[in-house]
C-alpha cells in the first residue's frame, strides 16, 4: 500500500508539483518542491514555521508572481496562469488568515466565490454542514468567532464545484472542540470525493485526517510518510518538526 502510494504516477495524479521554486521579491523561498496528490486523497504539508508550506500553497494557487517549475493539475500545466484561471481550473483556496470580508455579511461571504463548474455543494448542503452559520447569515462577516470564520472560509469554497481544496492551517488558534468539528468536516468531504492539501502545524490533527504527509524543510520536500506508518516514524517526525 505504502509503496504504491509512494509511486503515484504523474499521469494519474490530481496534482503533480515538480521543482516548484518561488521568490518573494528577492528572497528565494521555495527551492524545488516535488510532490503528488492522488484524486480523493487528503495530504498534509508538515514542517516548521518558515519552511515554505504556506508559500507552496500560494505558489500553486498563482498568488506569488515569481515562480518556476511545473504544477500540473488534472494533466494541465498551471505554472504560468493567473490565480483566477487556476481557480477556474478547479482548485479552491482557503488562506491562513481566512480572508473573511468585513464589508460583507456572512451570507455575502458565503455566496461570494462564483460557481466554476457543476457538482458543488448547494447553499443548503453547506448550511446543513455548518449549522452555526445559518443563524448568523445577516451578521457582518468579521463579527463571527474565530472558529465560525474558519468554517465560513471553508464553507464558501465548497459551493464552487471545485473538488480540489488547498487549506492553509484551518485549525490555527482554535479551541479543541472546533478542531474536532473541522476534522469531522474534512472526513465528510473526503467521503464526498474532495481532494485536499492541508498545511498543518498541529501534527495530531494532521494524523487524524490525512492519508499521507509530506515534510517540508527549507523550501524542499524532504520526506513522505504514509499515515499508516506514522507510529513507526514518530522519532523521525519529531526530529523534523522539533516537537
Amino acid at each position: 500500500m505504502a509503496e504504491a502510494a509512494r509511486k503515484t504516477e504523474f499521469a494519474t495524479a490530481a496534482l503533480a508539483v515538480r521543482d516548484l521554486q518561488a521568490w518573494y521579491d528577492e528572497s528565494h523561498i521555495l527551492h524545488g518542491i516535488n510532490f503528488d496528490v492522488a484524486p480523493g486523497e487528503v495530504v498534509t504539508l508538515l514542517g516548521r514555521n518558515g519552511a515554505g508550506k504556506t508559500t507552496t500553497l500560494r505558489a500553486i494557487m498563482g498568488l506569488i508572481a515569481k515562480r518556476t517549475g511545473s504544477v500540473q493539475f488534472e494533466g494541465r500545466e498551471l505554472i504560468n496562469l493567473p490565480a483566477r484561471a487556476i481557480a477556474k481550473a478547479g482548485i479552491a483556496f482557503c488562506p491562513e488568515e481566512r480572508g473573511i470580508f468585513s464589508s460583507l455579511s456572512v451570507d455575502e461571504n458565503l455566496m461570494l466565490p462564483p460557481v466554476i463548474k457543476p457538482g458543488g455543494l448547494s447553499r443548503e448542503d453547506v448550511l446543513t454542514m455548518f449549522p452555526n452559520l445559518r443563524e448568523r447569515l445577516t451578521s457582518q462577516g468579521t463579527k463571527l468567532s474565530g472558529g465560525e470564520q474558519q468554517m465560513l472560509a471553508i464553507a464558501r469554497i465548497l459551493r464552487t464545484g471545485a473538488k480540489f481544496l488547498l487549506l492553509d492551517e484551518p485549525t490555527e488558534g482554535l479551541a479543541p472542540v472546533i478542531v474536532q468539528q473541522i476534522g469531522r468536516t474534512l472526513a465528510t468531504l473526503k467521503q464526498q470525493g474532495f481532494t485536499i492539501v492541508l498545511v498543518e502545524q498541529n501534527f495530531h490533527f494532521a494524523a487524524s485526517v490525512a492519508d499521507r504527509h509530506y515534510v517540508v524543510e527549507q523550501g524542499r520536500v524532504i520526506d513522505m510518510i504514509p499515515n499508516t506508518e506514522i507510529q513507526t516514524n514518530l522519532g523521525k517526525l519529531h526530529a523534523y518538526l522539533g516537537v
Binding site: 494557487m61 498563482g62 498568488l63 493567473p82 490565480a83 483566477r84 484561471a85 487556476i86 481557480a87 477556474k88 479552491a92 483556496f93 488562506p95 480572508g99 470580508f101 468585513s102 464589508s103 460583507l104 455575502e108 455566496m111 461570494l112 466565490p113 462564483p114 466554476i116 469554497i157 464552487t160
Partner: protein, 295 residues
Amino acid sequence: MFELLGIPPQALFGQLLLGLINGSFYALLSLGLAVIFGLLNIINFSHGAQYMMGAFVAWMGLTWLGIPYWGALLIVPLVVGATGVAIERLMISRLYHLDHLYGLLLTFGLALIIQGLFRNQFGVSGLPYSIPPQLSGGTNLGFMFLPNYRGWVVIASLIVCFGTWFAIERTRLGAYLRAATENPTLVGAFGINVPRMITLTYGFGVALAAFAGVLAAPIYSVNPNMGADLIIVVFAVVVIGGMGSILGAILTGFGLGIVEGLTKVFYPEASSVAIFVIMAIVLLVKPAGLFGRTA
C-alpha cells in the same frame, strides 16, 4: 409672513434650494471619487475635467448631432465613461505597482491636458445649453418659487446616488466590488476577473462625473474651467466624508451643500470658506472623515 432671525423666508428657502443643488453635484462627484478610490486607491484628479467633458459632450451632441437633453443624459455618461475605460487600460493600469501618488500625478496631468484642449477649441467664455422644454418654467410652492429644472437636478441626483448605493451595498455585483476593495488578491483567487472589474469601476466613476456634467449644462455655463472650479470643493467634501465611503460621500455631499447655502444666508462673508473650515475641523477631530473607517 414669518421671519427667522430677521431673514425673509424667500431668501432662506432660496439659499437652501441653491445649497441642495450644489449638494447634488457635490454628492454625484464625490460618490464617483469614492467608488474609484475604494477599488483603485487612486485619487482621480481628472474627475473635474471629466465632469466638464460631460457638459461639453452634451453640448456637442445637441449642437452638431441634434441629440436632445434626455438622450444626452443616457449617451454622454456612456461615451465619457468609455474614455475613462481607455484611460484606465492604457495608462492608470500601468501604475498599480507604484506608489498611489503616481496615479494622482497622472490624473492631475490628464486633467490639465483635457482642460487645455477644450480651452483651445472652445475658448473660456462659455457656451449656452438650454433647459429642456419639459422642465422650463417653475412651480409656486407657496413659500417659494421652484424652477422646475433645479428641482429635477436634485431628484435626478438623489435617484442616481441611491441607485449606486443600492448596487454597491445590496447586490451580488456590489459584493464583488466591496470584497475586491478589501482584498483583491483573494477575490482573484476565487476566479473573479479583478483587473476587468477595476477598469469598469473607473469607467463607472467617470460616467457618474459625466452625468453630473450633463445635469449641470443647462444651469452653469458650459466652459472648460467649470470642473476645475468645482472639484476643489468636492475634494474637501470627500475628505470630510471619509475616503472610500459610499454613503458618506452622498450624505456629506448633500449636507455640505446645505450648510454652504445656509452660510450664505446667515453669514455670507464665510460662505466660500465654510466647507474648508469644516474640513480642517474634521481633519483635526476625526482624521479618517465622518464616515471613514480607520485602518
